[in-house]
Symmetry: C2
Subunit: 467 residues, 2 copies
């Protein structure tokens, strides 16, 4: 069984399903087709590709009884780009296994993680018994580009997708041996800022000093987005941020990664950022702004003596509880209008809006998830917030009215979005055990059940998490 | 004759002799070989390619008499890159003629300009008479990359190159009909600034806010290089700049391009820069700093959620009379050390050092040049400074002890270094007439002759330039 599961996973990782680059559209379609066929072979029903404006959505379901609750399992089969290609020490789409790691773009984010649940379902279906609950599976191909067509799909298919809870595995454990249940995500605003100046490139000898250089103007605008203390300098930006409670901060400090651990994971000697918060708090409780790309002028070898005509930067805001991505966009536009010099034009194009998200840890489904982790990993999970963004959770809340359980199996240092991304295989197997337990446990729950009493089973409450 | 001269020039422009990119080495060699053969066919002696570490130097001479003075004609057959390729409306290496313009990268800078003198020599040699003076011709293939091997060559061959004056045509007229004699050039320091942070790219959700982003750090460093008034903010930078005399400023104001003209040429609505100086003065009397390229992080379509590991910028300083490029480099290094945050490393790699240059307009050879322009164009030239840099003039001064006459035939708007560069053909023919007159006139001069008396011939002095 193990060998089959592994070779299935390798096959999945080998599809170059890079959604950010239109040239890979056929890689995405091939991946979706393979997944549909695979789910059919497992015995799931209603398997279907739904076309979108870009990459298809793969859907499957197994409905056993109206009296059983329903779980909507979401995953995404698209992956990030592989740039810079030279930084990879393994081919990003070979599905190579070295030691206890499976390498490849998407191995952890998110192919390896949602595959855990398909394999748990495979084990349940192999028994010949009915599933303990109804399951619906939705695999998307556009997560890494901000799910531009998912909202419309979820809205249009809200009856088909009706469920009691959603399950999404695209978050991290605290470490290889310490499971963690994520109850909060930051929101996101992604946008591209372009500065244009002279209509065409100019000779930097002939015109240098008399014409405002768009690269200089862009640098100055970007520099002005942070103050010297590392805070974001857009007026009003922090105003709506909801402060975390003393108890939550104490919990995160006790069970979250230390500054030293975060520095190790980031491979940096010194942290950076907003004073008054730990490094972990800066990444989960506080908003941030990352410049993710910068381009302008001559980028080849040697020297080209020009005043370029344009330059642009990609901005990624991460938003804290209380912030609204559309409001942040407005604040940014207003600020840019104020500080852009009259000799150049600054244009902002928004690419992604996602609000921040919190799911209350007190929900019975969260407690079931905690028990499942304890079973699968032999250790109760800690509660954690993630600094990442998963826009789909807000969609499920808005259109289906259900909470999403974020049951991740990734590692903090498994290089998601970076070179040499890998899946730590021991946690693939533990994940399948966790998922099996979770599916069975959910079968005994109804969404209207009272909170479970704490029992000898480990739970996600802080006091037990030390167990 | 005209048709032959034009098709020769087209052949020359068709070589893709881009020296900034190693992939074009064979294009440079083919161009050098063609030039050597062409000069042999014209009847020049001692034609030879001298190998350098990169692209060959083409040399030829015609020595007629020890009692005649000697002119060293310098030109460069290498050209700038053609990026951005999409901005060209003609193929950059087709040598297309449309109307009275010959289009192509290098058509004006510098192939079309030095070719003027080869064609003047061809006309003189066709007469069967001995040349009026000795000529030596040095054509370089590395000017656009800062002439890295020319200093060594000039020093090693200083006896071979011995001359009374150098002649270099790589500057602009004031306008198509108004010739101009350049007597000053800005110096240059070109350098690349690289900022590195985390060892590998990080997920901007997981680490954004806790790690200093190299793109943000680079933007902040670049922004700090100018103050809000548009002056360069490096401490001590302006200290050695020699102020221009009141008379010179008045002359440049009277005969140089107006702010409106410079804005038109740059195709910008508003000028920019150091207060207290006209736009023209900002580009010729005052130093400047242009960011010529900027790169870092993800540059593809869409969004990649990363904190990049590195970012870099190309810097081009233009230096005013009195400044020393090595001193400026030291000042820049000191400033960067002071302002670089401890979380990132900033590395500066210098790529070009060239001091500023001035040749006194009172020299007899300059007056001969002025008379030649008046003959060739039917109008006396004005004196001008250029904001560009021609490092070779300092080499000739240092190793051969001779001044260089900057007899340019380019136009301010012929898009040197930009897309759709062209040579304005009427000035190709006027240039040949100018060169013929200049060569004959120089034959009557010795470097020890007294300044010529002003005669009815137009000269370069301000009072006459209005003639």
């Amino acid at each position: 069984m193990k060998a089959d599961f592994l070779s299935d996973l390798q096959a999945l990782v080998r599809f170059p399903s890079i959604s950010t680059d239109a040239r890979y559209a056929s890689g995405l379609r091939a991946c979706a087709t393979w997944l549909a066929r695979h789910m059919q072979q497992l015995g799931l029903d209603g398997v279907r590709l739904f076309e979108t404006a870009r990459h298809p959505i793969v859907y499957a379901e197994k409905l056993v009884s109206r009296r059983r609750p329903t779980l909507l399992i979401y995953g995404h089969y698209d992956v990030q780009p592989t740039e810079p290609a030279a930084a990879w020490t393994v081919p990003p789409f070979a599905g190579l296994i070295r030691g206890n790691k499976l390498y490849g773009r998407g191995a952890s984010d998110d192919k390896g993680q949602f595959f855990v649940h398909l394999k748990a379902l495979e084990l349940l279906l192999q028994t010949g018994q009915p599933l303990p609950l109804n399951v619906k599976i939705l695999l998307e191909g556009e997560e890494e580009i901000g799910s531009p067509n998912l909202a419309e799909f979820v809205q249009a298919h809200r009856h088909r997708l009706r469920a009691d809870w959603a399950l999404l595995s695209d978050t991290n454990l605290l470490s290889a041996a310490q499971p963690a249940l994520t109850y909060g995500l930051r929101g996101s605003l992604a946008a591209e800022l372009t500065v244009t100046g002279p209509r065409a490139e100019l000779h930097s000898g002939i015109f240098g000093g008399a014409v405002l250089n768009p690269l200089q103007a862009l640098s100055t605008l970007l520099a002005a987005l942070h103050d010297e203390a590392g805070r974001i300098a857009i007026p009003g930006f922090y105003d709506p941020v909801q402060p975390a409670s003393v108890a939550e901060r104490a919990y995160l400090q006790r069970y979250g990664p230390s500054d030293a651990q975060l520095r190790r994971e980031a491979q940096v000697e010194q942290g950076w950022g907003e004073a008054g918060y730990s490094l972990y708090e800066r990444t989960v409780l506080r908003p941030s702004l990352s410049i993710t790309g910068l381009t302008g002028g001559y980028q080849g070898a040697g020297v080209q003596s020009i005043v370029p005509a344009r330059a642009s930067a990609k901005l990624s805001f991460r938003l804290a509880q209380g912030q609204n991505p559309h409001q942040v966009e407005e604040q940014l536009r207003r600020f840019l209008r104020r500080i852009t010099p009259p000799q150049v034009q600054a244009t902002l194009t928004a690419q992604l809006h996602a609000p921040p998200y919190t799911v209350p840890p007190q929900l019975p489904v969260m407690q079931a998830a905690a028990q499942a982790y304890a079973h699968g990993f032999g250790r109760a999970p800690v509660l954690q917030r993630s600094g990442g963004t998963i826009p789909v959770v807000s969609l499920f809340e808005q259109h289906l009215g259900i909470p999403t359980v974020l049951m991740g199996f990734g590692l903090p240092d498994d290089r998601k979005h970076g070179p040499d991304e890998f899946l730590y295989l021991p946690n693939f197997w533990r994940g399948i055990r966790t998922s099996l337990f979770f599916l069975r446990r959910l079968g005994q729950l109804t969404p209207y059940s009272a909170p479970l009493c704490s029992s000898s089973t480990a739970t996600a409450t802080p006091a037990k998490a030390t167990a």
